[in-house]
């Protein structure tokens, strides 16, 4: 008993030693992005097509100048569970982009208007060209950005998240980043060419503030603030990184209903079968202790 108590004390000591440095570690990491309301959060949350269309407008008019979206094709814009463009609209959007094709009969690569089956063309021919044009900074591809970014949730949040189904670290971070441009705090030396961003890990970000109020025109009366732009483009990027989310949650609900009924039936069957073992052992057929042990 005493030994047991000693071990508990040792464990408590170990825990108390690690607690302060946990806080220290979190402080020097990145700032926690303020959580936003997302239509696609939770077990029944789906994308809002109008929001995705607004976000796509921002991508096309602003982000696409520097950021590629390689994994998406124009046809995806008309996919179910997406921004809800018609095929004709998606084809018209594709025609607005110039795509490199070839080689042709003369062995030359050539430019042609995009078709619905094409993937989004990248703004730079390669990473080196992007770096050369942008002062050394490489804009990441945006296809998986909303899943490829996150932040340390820390204890106990990482446990609570499993129950609340919080999966929107990436969109929260993107929204916070777009709203996180500030003047550097006193004593912070910014490397040349970098901007200060409250939410970027290390704070020195190569991307200049990309959005300002009123920059992108909305036709549906939604407010044209950076806050709203940030939410819309983050939602668009969430869809771009997880285009099957609607399908996944719909199927998930059906699977859940099926499994609950099946498991319930299995439970009652099991209970019925075991009833006689538990309450009327004299009625069960006797069994030898182990089959292979012959004496």
């Amino acid at each position: 008993m005493n030994a047991h108590r000693n071990i508990i004390v040792a464990l408590a000591l170990a825990a108390s030693l690690s607690a302060p440095c946990l806080r220290a570690a979190l402080a020097q990491e990145q700032e926690v992005p303020p959580p936003q309301h997302w239509s696609f959060a939770g077990p029944f949350g789906l994308y809002d097509p109008e929001q995705l269309q607004r976000g796509f407008k921002i991508y096309r008019e602003v982000c696409s100048t520097c950021h590629s979206l390689k994994l998406l094709a124009f046809r995806n814009l008309a996919d179910p569970g997406g921004p809800g463009f018609s095929e004709a609209q998606a084809a018209a959007i594709a025609a607005g982009f110039q795509v490199t094709d070839g080689p042709n009969d003369q062995g030359q690569m050539y430019q042609r208007p995009g078709r619905i089956g094409d993937h989004f063309p990248s703004p730079f021919p390669n990473d080196q060209a992007a770096r050369a044009a942008l002062g050394g900074a490489l804009p990441p591809d945006m296809s998986d950005l909303a899943k490829g970014r996150g932040y340390e949730r820390g204890f106990p949040w990482f446990i609570i998240d499993a129950f609340t189904q919080y999966q929107e670290e990436g969109p929260d971070y993107i929204h916070a980043l777009l709203n996180g441009y500030e003047n550097p705090s006193a004593g912070f030396t910014l490397p040349p060419g970098a901007q200060y961003n409250q939410y970027f890990p290390g704070h020195a970000i190569g991307m200049p503030k990309p959005l300002s109020d009123g920059q992108v025109e909305y036709t549906d009366g939604t407010s044209t603030t950076v806050d709203q732009y940030g939410r819309d483009v983050a939602a668009f990027l969430a869809w771009a990184s997880e285009p099957k989310l609607d399908e996944r949650k719909r199927l998930g609900f059906q699977v859940f209903m099926y499994l609950i009924v099946l498991t319930g039936l299995l439970y009652f069957t099991k209970k019925r079968i075991w009833h006689e073992v538990k309450h009327h052992p004299e009625l069960t057929e006797p069994r030898p202790p182990t089959e292979y042990r012959r004496s």
Binding site: C21, L22, R149, K249, L266, R287, P288
Partner: protein, 422 residues
């Protein structure tokens, strides 16, 4: 042998087959009439769950392999194609990735049950050792599978883990070069990992057959740790154990579905959605959650070589549990001191898991060292001594006695339920 274990098929085709290959009677004696202790609790369903999960992993894996391209330039994009363009590809991949995690959930529960009820003790030593081999195979297979999507964590986990072998003097560096198939983690590494990741699950399936064979030689342990003595102590595998297993597999599927359909990326790391980049090291390289306790042990030891030895030892020592534990009483239910030390051991492993996810600095390292010390002290000092000095509680004379002590007595004269066999 009682009459009901002799299989007499009525069907003439099965009779014909029986005279040539008695596969039907093998299934009959192993999975139908096989006597199983009547007092098994739900911790004994994890064996069935593990078999089920192995099947899920193999089936989803084979289909994923039809669409995957094992090449450094295409692997990441081919996984994304599976997620975006293959019919139900997202479901297959999320099932496979989360399935791996849940495979480990089940195996840890299975191991913990074995430790709590002393299932490794005589005559089940070989059964237990086969289990440790299965766990090692799972660890290797899971690690190689994590490398295949070729994201940042894939690449850097492969780099860190293969580099562990460089800790060995003289032979270390040649071993690492041999593992890589080159002088850095690259295309040959990815190709051989893919090849082995496809092979090892079938090796696992083979060892599972041996594991089940060994189990059926010695019979199952049970919560009392007292061997079945009379026919009252056991029930038939089917329908009693099969229904119990089926019910718990249903529950386990619900648990898995929660992750697959609603939080599919919860157990992963966001960095693995960034394509592998050998010139950019992630801030923290962390393995998947199921390796974290061992990762913490590795980093707790200041010397790299000793760290690697401790990492390997922490798993290999488990194979020696039958001899490290000197007590003749199996079940922790009758070993009050052992039970407390064991619960602390489980907490220590969970604590090490947490510490493995944190950066190796300051108090984390000190805590990891304390917990690592307990891990090894438990196996090498506490267990051997405890068996010699511990005063155990009196064991029940039989399973039926333990089961029926607080229930209806054997031969209770309650009226039979309607429809019961007379």
């Amino acid at each position: 042998m009682s009459g009901h274990s002799i299989y007499e098929p009525q069907n003439s085709i099965i009779q014909w087959l029986e005279r040539r290959l008695p596969v039907a009677s093998l299934v009959y004696s192993s999975f139908i009439v096989y006597p199983t202790p009547r007092n098994l609790n739900y911790w004994w369903t994890f064996g069935a769950i593990l078999s089920f999960m192995l099947g899920v992993q193999i089936i989803t894996g084979i289909v994923l392999a039809m669409h995957y391209t094992p090449h450094v330039d295409f692997a990441f994009d081919s996984v994304e194609t599976i997620m975006r363009d293959v019919n139900y590809g997202w479901l297959l991949r999320y099932l496979h990735a989360n399935g791996a995690s849940f495979f480990f959930v089940a195996v840890y529960a299975h191991i913990a049950r074995g430790m709590y009820y002393g299932s490794y003790k005589e005559p089940r030593e070989v059964l237990w050792i086969l289990g440790v081999i299965l766990f090692l195979l799972m660890v290797v297979t899971g690690f190689m599978g994590y490398v295949l999507p070729w994201g940042q964590m894939s690449f850097w986990a492969a780099t860190v883990i293969t580099n562990l072998f460089s800790a060995f003097p003289v032979v270390g560096d040649p071993i690492v070069t041999w593992l890589w198939g080159g002088y850095a983690v690259g295309n040959p590494t990815l190709n051989r990992f893919y090849s082995l990741h496809y092979l090892l699950p079938f090796v696992i399936a083979g060892v599972v057959v041996l594991h089940v064979w060994a189990l059926h030689m010695v019979g199952q342990n049970n919560p009392t740790g007292v061997e079945p003595k009379t026919e009252k102590d056991t029930v038939a595998f089917t329908p009693y154990a099969t229904m119990k297993d089926a019910f718990f597999i249903g529950l386990f599927c619900l648990f898995l579905a929660w992750f697959v359909f609603y939080i599919p990326n919860y157990l992963g790391h966001s960095d693995n959605y960034i394509p592998a980049n050998p010139s950019q090291t992630p801030t923290h390289i962390v393995p998947e959650w199921y390796y974290l306790p061992f990762y913490a042990i590795l980093r707790a030891i200041p010397s790299k070589l000793l760290g690697v030895v401790a990492l390997g030892g922490s798993i290999v020592l488990l194979a020696f549990l039958p001899w490290l534990d000197t007590s003749r009483v199996r079940s922790a239910n009758y070993r009050p001191l052992y039970r407390q030390f064991l619960v602390v051991f489980f907490l220590v492993v969970i604590g090490l898991g947490y510490l493995g996810s944190q950066p190796p600095e300051g108090g984390y390292v000190i805590a990891a060292r304390i917990l690592t010390a307990y891990y090894f002290a438990y196996l090498l000092i506490i267990l051997p001594l405890l068996g010699l000095f511990e005063k155990t509680k009196p064991l029940p004379s039989s399973i039926s006695e333990a089961v029926l002590r607080d229930g209806a007595p054997v031969g209770a004269s309650a009226p039979p339920p309607p429809g019961a066999r007379a």
